[in-house]
């Protein structure tokens, strides 16, 4: 008959057990289009940065001289094949080579004649409203946005022969005859297709003679809605001068806020100014260019392409020309030099990836170039179409070059790029040392809901100065195990795995040395990792919702990503695939992981707040432990029973084998219970939604939940003074949503906070033998393990969930632990 409480147990303390350690951190360098080409060493060729969009091949027409004189551009100007123009408008080319001038030779690319304009030609006695000046049928079927609010009729004078895509750029050139003092209400209206904002994606810009232009979108009902008003020209400079207008609608890629933009560029060719220094002389003035940008919120609406159209006020003989954007077929970008924040070796390749919209026939090719040699690094392969490069230690300064290829009519759009290299892990080279008989006491604080609380303290006696390892370093890996099966010494339950961060050497004169080791759990490895880059969890490019919009990340995918950024490979993780996604309706600014943000903090927060799951560093699964995501335990999986009763007659009450399997006694006088009051009894959750999430306008969402058992609610007697939830008075809890989100998210968060904070809890604490259990719900577990946080147990007849398990003992024969639990 044994006198031991926990027979067959034997503790093993291992210093520097086999371990995987991080030797090269993750390396990442990220640039958005708007951060590129800002330094003196950067350069571009045939490319321009379109606002809110990205780098694109630059339309040749952005220089009016190209449009006017180059033969190649004649293909861009819309003629009879592309445009149906009212018959009363005559073609009037504006350029011809001056062949009669002697001593003048034009360049090879200059056209002999061209630069086609149209202009209304009114015959003597002819009506200005003659049918030959109006495409009346088209105007009847597709009314003008200014109809009913015009000082003089606006006539439909031209319509395209085919529908225009929502990304088709246009250049409009026109002159407005008349004096400077004239300010007609409208002079010209241009219709085009762009991204859908609130309607069909059919747009019109109506230029006024006062320098303002009204921008309309055609609604789903076929009416026109004014979206914006922009300044297109200084007042009193509309007349008598030529205007060049660039209309550039663009759907956007990888922008969680916007579905598209419409850029207008207005170039006003100013007349020469009188020279102050030389009276009687005139000085040419540089053209003045203005930009106006309309940002279109993310919506699920699809544009319905329509032909371009043109309206001109009946009494103005505007000379006009329309051309579609013509682009060079090649361009390049050479970005600024940079250095990565480590010295990478060839153990892991670089991956240069980029985000770009690439229409058919277009391409983007990126190159990683060594800044010292100006030679591209050796390409070792590709992943997902992106090149992989071999780092050449110790080089770490580079720059990136992009080659843009277009079709002449379409351009790729480069939104940004990232250079990334995964972390490198290796086996630790530290020599393992076993502390067997030398360990005379240990106290472990197990993880609770916050895994950072895990720690251990050991007392080690070094009688023969035989443990030099304890004097060599300040930090080493520690694993505490216990045997439990006399037939198989390899079966061991891991009680603690972590890192000794403080080794106190207690010196005694003429005696042996005593060490006091303080170890922190594996949390330390995670906590010391910071995010190397900005990461946007608001946009999962691989998933779209029912409305066709990109969804935010799944919570579990975000967790895997953050563990990866911290250097933990997939083999060290046990994270299920759950469908719940982060809150980010229509905007993701609140879900940006900033550089050097704490990954550990966010991991625990996302798991707890969104999923109600716990993050555990589980040393009992896998060869070297794993990070696991586990759901809250339920009464359906009771792993052990603790009782205050003895085992019955004829059995030793202090011996664990006297009790049924997975059952232990509670040590006399150690048992405590108390009630933890609710943290509040009313939850008010606030959420701010942007225009997209708020159905067109920024909105406030609010959800209020109450616990009527805690206080008298609604002027009635609802409280139960005998309830653990009872406070007797209102205690408010306010919760603001972390990101812009919709109605459902606000309700969800309110419920989560309510469930966790608006109920009182009955808590139990006691000391009992250290139970080792099997968990049939855990497929990764191959041996017994100690109980831990989140395990469900019976305490007497009461089902409880453990909040922490803290082993503390000095002899293997009597392995005990302190337990704390809350009633379910």
């Amino acid at each position: 008959m044994t006198t031991e409480t926990t027979p067959n147990r034997r503790t093993h303390v291992r210093l520097n057990p086999p371990d995987t350690v991080l030797v090269e951190p993750i390396v990442a360098h990220e640039r958005s289009a708007f951060d590129m080409l800002r330094g003196a060493d950067s350069q571009e060729q045939n490319a321009w940065l379109m606002p809110e969009t990205g780098w694109r091949l630059e339309p040749l027409q952005r220089r009016a001289s190209s449009l006017s004189e180059l033969a190649a551009l004649s293909a861009a100007i819309l003629g009879p094949a592309d445009l149906t123009v009212a018959s009363g408008f005559l073609q009037a080319p504006a350029f011809r080579q001056e062949a009669d001038l002697t001593g003048l030779t034009y360049g090879a690319g200059v056209s002999t004649s061209g630069d086609l304009f149209y202009q209304k030609q009114v015959g003597a006695g002819q009506s200005w409203g003659d049918p030959s000046f109006v495409l009346a049928a088209d105007q009847a079927s597709y009314p003008s946005p200014t109809a009913g609010a015009e000082n003089a009729p606006m006539d439909r004078v031209a319509v395209g022969t085919a529908g225009a895509g929502p990304d088709q750029e246009w250049f409009l050139r026109f002159t407005v005859p008349g004096g400077r003092m004239q300010a007609p209400d409208h002079v010209l209206t241009f219709y085009f297709t762009g991204p859908a904002c609130q309607g069909l994606g059919q747009w019109a810009i109506a230029f006024g003679g006062d320098g303002y232009a009204d921008v309309f979108e055609r609604t789903l009902a076929g009416t026109w809605a004014e979206i914006d008003r922009v300044v297109w020209c200084p007042a009193h400079q509309v007349g008598r001068v030529p205007h060049l207008v660039h209309v550039a609608p663009q759907p956007l890629v990888n922008n969680p806020k916007l579905s598209g933009v419409i850029l207008f560029e207005f170039t006003l060719a100013r007349e020469p100014a009188r020279a102050a220094a030389a009276p009687g002389h005139f000085v040419p003035q540089a053209a003045e260019s203005k930009q106006a940008l309309i940002s279109i919120p993310l919506t699920g609406l699809n544009p319905q392409p329509a032909p371009i159209r043109l309206d001109i006020r009946r009494d103005i003989r505007t000379q006009f020309q329309l051309s579609k954007a013509m682009l060079p077929t090649i361009g390049s970008l050479t970005d600024d030099r940079f250095s990565v924040s480590f010295y990478p070796t060839a153990a892991e390749p670089y991956i240069l990836s980029w985000s770009a919209a690439v229409p058919a026939g277009c391409s983007v090719a990126g190159h990683l170039i060594d800044a010292a040699t100006n030679v591209e690094l050796t390409v070792t392969g590709s992943v997902g179409g992106f090149p992989m490069y071999a780092p050449a230690y110790p080089a770490r300064a580079y720059y990136v070059r992009f080659d843009l290829t277009g079709t002449g009519w379409a351009s790729p759009t480069l939104v940004g790029y990232r250079l990334q290299r995964d972390a490198v892990a290796a086996d630790s080279r530290a020599t393992e040392t076993a502390l067997e008989a030398e360990t005379t006491g240990l106290a472990i604080v197990g993880a609770d809901e916050d895994p950072s609380h895990e720690s251990a303290t050991l007392r080690v006696e070094d009688r023969f100065a035989a443990i030099p390892a304890l004097r060599a370093n300040g930090e080493y890996t520690l694993q505490v195990e216990t045997e439990y099966d006399p037939a198989d010494a390899t079966k061991r339950a891991v009680l603690h795995r972590g890192a000794v961060v403080r080794t106190e050497q207690i010196h005694r004169p003429q005696s042996w040395t005593t060490y006091r080791l303080t170890s922190v759990g594996m949390w330390q490895r995670l906590a010391e990792a910071l995010s190397p880059i900005r990461f946007n969890f608001g946009l999962d490019t691989n998933a779209t919702g029912p409305n066709g919009l990109p969804l935010p990340y799944k919570v579990t995918d975000a967790l895997r990503t953050m563990f990866g950024l911290a250097g933990f490979a997939a083999g060290a993780l046990d994270i299920p695939d759950l469908p719940i996604r982060l809150f980010a309706s229509g905007d993701a600014d609140g879900l940006l992981l900033e550089p050097q943000a704490s990954l550990a903090d966010l991991i625990v927060r996302y798991a707890r707040d969104y999923l109600g799951y716990l993050v555990l560093a589980d040393a009992n699964v896998g060869a070297r432990g794993m990070w696991r995501l586990r759901p809250l335990g339920t009464a359906a999986n009771i792993l052990a029973t603790f009782q205050t009763d003895g085992p019955g007659a004829g059995k030793l009450p202090h011996a664990l084998p006297s009790y049924p399997a997975n059952t232990a006694f509670i040590r006399r006088r150690s048992y405590r219970t108390w009630i933890k009051p609710p943290e509040g009894n009313v939850v008010v959750a606030f959420g701010a939604a942007n225009a997209a999430a708020g159905g067109g306008a920024p909105m406030l969402y609010k959800q209020v939940l109450v616990n009527p058992a805690s206080f008298d609610f609604g002027g009635s007697v609802t409280a139960d003074p005998t309830s653990v939830d009872y406070l007797g008075r209102v205690r408010m809890l306010y919760q603001y949503l972390p990101a812009q989100a919709g109605e459902a998210a606000v309700s969800w968060v309110a419920r989560r906070v309510y469930d966790s904070a608006c109920h009182g809890k009955r808590l139990h604490s006691f000391q009992a033998p250290l139970l080792l259990v099997d968990d049939p719900d855990d497929s990764l577990l191959t041996h017994l393990r100690p109980l831990r946080v989140n395990d469900c147990v019976n305490i007497g007849e009461t089902v409880c969930r453990l909040r922490s398990v803290n082993p503390a003992y000095m002899k293997d024969a009597h392995q005990f632990a302190f337990y704390e639990a809350e009633e379910l």
Binding site: G687, L700, Q703, V706, T718, Q735, Y736, R751, R752, S756
Partner: protein, 76 residues
């Protein structure tokens, strides 16, 4: 003095929890480091009334209970 400090700390914790800040409480959604709007700006927005998810009709037999919430409540 220690008791006074303890009391002050407890009050600070209580206020922090009420405001939804983390400060030692592992149970709350914490504010993200980067927030779109300040709390005052959020409260200044026009409000879209949210459908209640709790039955607060005092005469209802299901008074105090919550409506089923997908991905939150276990399937019946």
């Amino acid at each position: 003095m220690d008791a006074l400090n303890l009391h002050r700390t407890a009050i600070q914790e209580l206020v922090a929890r009420g405001q939804g800040e983390r400060r030692g409480s592992p149970r709350f959604l914490a504010q993200e480091k980067r927030s779109i709007l300040s709390q005052a700006e959020i409260l200044g927005l026009p409000e879209a009334l949210v459908a209640p998810i709790q039955d607060l009709n005092l005469s209802s037999p299901t008074f105090g209970q919550f409506a089923f919430m997908l991905d939150y409540d276990p399937l019946p």
